[in-house]
């Protein structure tokens, strides 16, 4: 334990030193460290793990986005997967029918999802808690049903042969190449999330989460911030959807956006820790890996996941992020005590 503490402390100090030079340096270092990951995974394991890494990056974007509206702003939404679907279908349709490049289709998909975020967020103006959850659930499921019954959106056959992104003659047509698209996107998503959390908007979100009346009394426009949280969260979902649609083999189907996917996403956020950015990331990694490792026990998989959710909520309500928080607070407390003791001696 002492060794772990020491490693954590050294790492923390090293990051602090880097941040002191330039706040982007730790991010650039992390980016540099993640660059050779596909080659390492392919060499040590196989291409399947590169595919998993790509999926994890997409899930990270989704869970980090969901954390903004649910964790930061305290709005209970169960319709996030609908926004993910909107982003995916919009980007795919633009590429397939208009023949536009991914680099145009992708941002348009994000914007369309953002607009849809306003619609999903509107009930939050009047509803709270379970009622808001029900309203967003209905909206999310309506999106899936709309896709399922509309031939133009792929209907039952799905959208096939969605072209992979290209830059000149370079095509992101393998899992390894696609990693260099989803990994930076996830990194940017995480960085933006931290930036939002530390900004006045982020603090306003948290004020709304803690007490809407108190927030309003302090001059925070509650309606605006609730809607803004939904829109930002939708932008994340739209980006994740666009990346999912264009990832080889370039196929999406309405079955990819069911309530089960939403529950899995919630599981990531709850396991990681609601309101913790790192929690969402850890949750996305842990849930994806656990899911993968239990693939062959398919009879018991839903039971395992359901039971885990119940146990986490019962015994670890603040998730892994909560545990990390507790560790950090304890470490700070010990450091302060040590400083006091040193000063006294």
């Amino acid at each position: 334990m002492a060794a772990v503490n020491s490693i954590f402390r050294s790492l923390s100090e090293f990051i602090d030193q880097l941040s002191a030079i330039h706040r982007m340096l730790p991010w650039l270092l992390a980016f540099g460290m993640l660059l050779p990951l596909p080659q390492i995974l392919a060499a040590v394991f196989n291409d399947y793990y590169v595919y998993l890494a790509n999926r994890i990056c997409i899930f990270i974007m989704l869970s980090v986005g969901l954390n903004i509206v649910k964790g930061f702003c305290g709005q209970v939404t169960v319709g996030h997967v609908g926004l993910y679907a909107i982003g995916a279908v919009s980007a795919a349709l633009i590429s397939l029918h208009l023949g536009w490049s991914f680099w145009i289709a992708f941002p348009i998909g994000i914007l369309v999802a953002g607009l849809a975020g306003v619609i999903v967020g509107l009930p939050s103006v009047r509803l709270e808690g379970a009622y808001l959850a029900l309203a967003t659930l209905g909206l999310g499921e309506s999106v899936r049903i709309m896709i399922a019954v509309t031939p133009a959106f792929g209907s039952s056959t799905g959208l096939l042969s969605i072209p992979p992104p290209t830059i000149g003659s370079f095509t992101f047509d393998s899992f390894e190449k696609y990693y260099y698209l989803v990994m930076p996107a996830a990194m940017i998503g995480i960085y933006m999330s931290f930036s939002i959390l530390r900004s006045a908007t982020g603090r306003a979100f948290m004020a709304v989460r803690e007490d809407t009346i108190a927030a309003a009394v302090h001059g925070i426009n509650v309606v605006k911030h609730k809607l803004l949280a939904f829109v930002i969260s939708a932008l994340y979902a739209g980006a994740a959807g666009g990346l999912f649609a264009h990832m080889p083999p370039g196929y999406i189907h309405h079955n990819n956006f069911t309530i089960i996917e939403m529950v899995t996403l919630l599981m990531m956020v709850v396991l990681g820790g609601i309101g913790h950015i790192w929690g969402g990331i850890i949750g996305a990694i842990v849930v994806t890996v656990i899911y993968d490792q239990t693939l062959e026990f398919y009879f018991y998989q839903p039971l395992l996941f359901g039971l885990s959710m119940v146990l986490i909520v019962m015994f670890m309500p603040r998730g892994i992020g909560g545990l990390i928080d507790r560790y950090l607070v304890t470490r700070k407390f010990i450091a302060v005590q040590e400083e006091k003791a040193d000063a006294a001696s």
């Binding site: 056959t157 990819n256 398919y298």
Partner: protein, 402 residues
């Protein structure tokens, strides 16, 4: 103290070594990956039957002395899960042959994965005609393609039922494909436009409004294209709405699944559909198969998804037996190519299917939709002990519906 003769000891050690090497040589295994929809009761039984059949092959000495190692995974009929399974089976398990999936919407993206990785791919149940239209050199379809079913159904309906047909189309890939193809064939064969068309949810439970509208439209027949449970509910509600038995009920290919007569009961009587296998088939091979399925899985009259899964194993067995496999650490790509070529050389396989199954080398639907014979089946009696009869057996030209 027991004295051990050095010569005996050396002999014994050599024996152990030779036996070990022989075991090592025998340990070469043919790896087969399977991804199927293991969520419904029947889905689990199809998958289990494939595993059981490979196990039987192993118990009878394997294929040319090589054992089969089959890995079965559940894709829940979801494309992302199917893609993940196939990527895992291909890259991690290094399978020589991939089997999957039960659902067309899952098989469609897997075709791209197997084509890119160069892995022979046998399709057990998916009927969507787009699967073989993708032009993959690695895919082979054992079931009858949706494009053939539609032709057979439309011919029979136009000649024996009438031309005023209502369509209820569920939102799953196979049903949509069956519904669209049937409408297209009715138009091209008989010049008949649909009298009524409605899209319904994959797991819709209430069809009463549609049934009332269909009743007032005075149609000759209703085509219900849906998965088994949904179709059964729609059939019951068609009678509840007062649509007489004289208005024939036409099922899509999933009408052959046992939940349809089990759930629909008397409402299943008279429903006819095109399928790849009739449990009423009187051939000895079919009777033996029916008995085996009844004993092992408790299904009295197996549907065509059972027969297709069984035929697929037999085709795989023939192809693996004919392929010249090295099965060493460096021969994976060559072995995969050899299996693909061996499947392409399967000609006139006569199994449980309604007609012979043949493949060829060209990556075209004509070559890769192996079974072109659909059998037209009607339920004579519904319920648990349902009874079927064969109305017709039709072999379609290879390029029909393209």
């Amino acid at each position: 103290m027991i004295k051990i003769n050095k010569n005996y000891l050396a002999g014994a050690l050599a024996g152990v070594l030779v036996a070990g090497m022989a075991m090592g040589a025998m340990a070469a295994e043919i790896r087969i990956g399977i991804t199927m929809r293991m969520v419904s009761e029947n889905g689990q039984k199809y998958g289990q039957m494939v595993m059981d059949e490979f196990d039987m092959i192993n118990k009878s000495g394997g294929i040319n002395g090589n054992m089969i190692k089959a890995t079965l995974m559940n894709d829940e009929c979801k494309s992302d899960k199917g893609v993940a399974n196939s990527v895992k089976l291909i890259n991690q398990q290094k399978v020589h042959l991939l089997i999957g999936s039960s659902c067309s919407s899952v098989t469609l993206p897997i075709v791209d994965i197997t084509a890119k990785a160069g892995v022979p791919h046998l399709v057990p149940h998916s009927t969507n005609s787009k699967i073989t239209k993708k032009g993959s050199a690695w895919v082979f379809r054992v079931p009858v393609s949706g494009r053939y079913y539609a032709g057979v159904n439309a011919k029979y309906v136009g000649e024996n039922v009438g031309k005023k047909i209502a369509y209820l189309c569920a939102a799953d890939a196979a049903s949509q494909n069956d519904c669209e193809a049937m409408q297209k064939q009715m138009k091209s064969q008989h010049g008949a436009d649909p009298a009524y068309v409605a899209q319904v949810q994959e797991k819709e439970v209430d069809f009463r409004t549609h049934m009332q509208k269909i009743k007032t439209a005075g149609v000759d027949g209703i085509m219900i294209a849906a998965l088994a449970e949904t179709m059964a509910r729609a059939l019951i509600q068609s009678y509840e709405a007062g649509i007489p038995a004289s208005v024939r009920r036409i099922g899509s290919s999933s009408a052959s699944n046992s939940p349809v007569p089990n759930i629909a009961g008397d409402a299943a009587k008279g429903v006819f559909f095109a399928a790849a296998y009739a449990a009423a088939d009187t051939r000895p091979v079919a009777r033996l198969f029916n008995e085996m399925v009844k004993q092992r899985y408790g299904i009295p009259a197996p549907d065509h998804d059972f027969s297709q899964a069984y035929d697929l194993v037999r085709i795989a067995e023939i192809a693996l037996g004919n392929a010249k496999l090295k099965l060493d650490s460096g021969s994976l790509a060559a072995d995969r190519t050899a299996i693909r070529d061996a499947i392409a050389n399967v000609k006139n396989y006569n199994g449980l299917g309604s007609g012979p199954i043949s493949f060829c080398a060209a990556p075209t639907p004509q070559c890769r939709d192996g079974n072109r014979t659909a059998v037209l089946i009607a339920y004579k009696k519904g319920g648990k002990n349902y009874v079927t009869e064969v109305l017709a057996r039709v072999t379609m030209p290879a390029d029909f519906g393209l």
